[in-house]
């Protein structure tokens, strides 16, 4: 087991365990703080997966700004105490767990097929850009594994992510600003008592 894999599974386990705590704690503040742990471990996973800029954004935007917003609303509504019966009853529990297990097996299928090119090609048809994801292990191992890491060394991930963002995806980027403006106006209108 390579050191990378050990670190990966360490943070993956931390993320899953804290996500489990997040959905089972009765106190909303405890839930929010466990979610922050999940978001931090996901940031670590992003670094391992060669997405350094995204990892920084994850810490700044998600663990920083969005979770502070959540905690602020919990504080504002005075929900910091443990609710009487936050979890649903036995019937709801059974349905939720059953649906969750079915969904998990559905979602795990592509993960199991990820390193099995035969099954993946069957699943995806012959779409050319996607089919290359399922290269056999022998071919994949012969390829240089550190293409993204070398990119990071050469020009840094910020520049590398910024180029497609401001060239290929310029229009979606600009539309995002309209979305954020609409969200700001909507939040103010909804939260204000009287305009």
């Amino acid at each position: 087991m390579s050191p990378t894999l050990i670190v990966f599974w360490g943070f993956a386990g931390l993320a899953i365990a804290s996500a489990l705590f997040c959905i089972t704690r009765k106190n909303p503040v405890a839930s929010a703080l466990w979610l922050v742990v999940t978001l931090f471990s996901l940031a670590a996973l992003f670094v391992i997966l060669d997405a350094q800029f995204i990892a920084v954004l994850q810490v700044l935007v998600y663990a920083g700004a969005i979770m502070v917003l959540f905690l602020f609303v919990i504080m504002l509504l005075n929900l910091g105490r443990r609710g009487p019966a936050d979890l649903k009853g036995p019937a709801g529990l059974a349905v939720g767990v059953a649906l969750g297990v079915v969904l998990l097996f559905q979602l795990l299928a592509p993960a199991r097929a990820a390193d099995d090119p035969q099954r993946q090609c069957e699943a995806l048809g012959q779409a050319a850009p996607l089919a290359c994801l399922g290269l056999p292990d022998s071919v994949l191992a012969a390829m240089p594994q550190d293409a993204m890491a070398r990119l990071q060394e050469q020009e840094g991930m910020v520049g590398a992510v910024a180029r497609p963002l401001f060239q290929t995806y310029l229009l979606p980027f600009e539309i995002t600003s309209v979305l954020l403006l609409a969200a700001i106006v909507g939040a103010v209108v909804l939260a204000k008592r009287k305009l």
């Binding site: 894999l5 959905i23 999940t38 997405a51 979890l87 649903k88 349905v95 993960a111 850009p129 979305l179």
Partner: protein
């Protein structure tokens, strides 16, 4: 070669998010579980982007990360509007327990 494990972790996190939405009653906790699902999707994006960066060139790989950027922007907008809606509901009904918010029930 972390694509398989990363997709598996992403699947588990997404399922935990769905389970949270189905099992909890507190509107704010449900909202946090939605954020968890968005993050699971982001993890899948980043893992597939790394594999594409190895097999189809770094430009293709970096584009996957651009999509994560967009998902984060949408999540931020969604959090702001959603929490404002929860505030407005609380002001009307003095609760965020979904058990008591059943106007659509006939």
């Amino acid at each position: 070669m972390l694509l398989g494990p990363a997709l598996a972790v992403s699947a588990v996190l997404f399922t935990l998010g769905v389970a949270g939405v189905l099992l909890r009653r507190n509107a704010i906790v449900i909202f946090m579980c939605v954020e968890l699902m968005l993050n699971a999707a982001n993890l899948a994006f980043v893992a597939l982007a790394q594999r594409l960066g190895t097999t189809a060139g770094v430009e293709a790989g970096v584009r996957g990360q651009v999509f994560v950027f967009f998902v984060m922007a949408v999540a931020a907008a969604e959090a702001a509007v959603g929490l404002a809606i929860i505030l407005a509901i609380y002001r009307h009904r003095e609760t965020v327990d979904l058990q008591n918010i059943n106007l659509l029930k006939g």
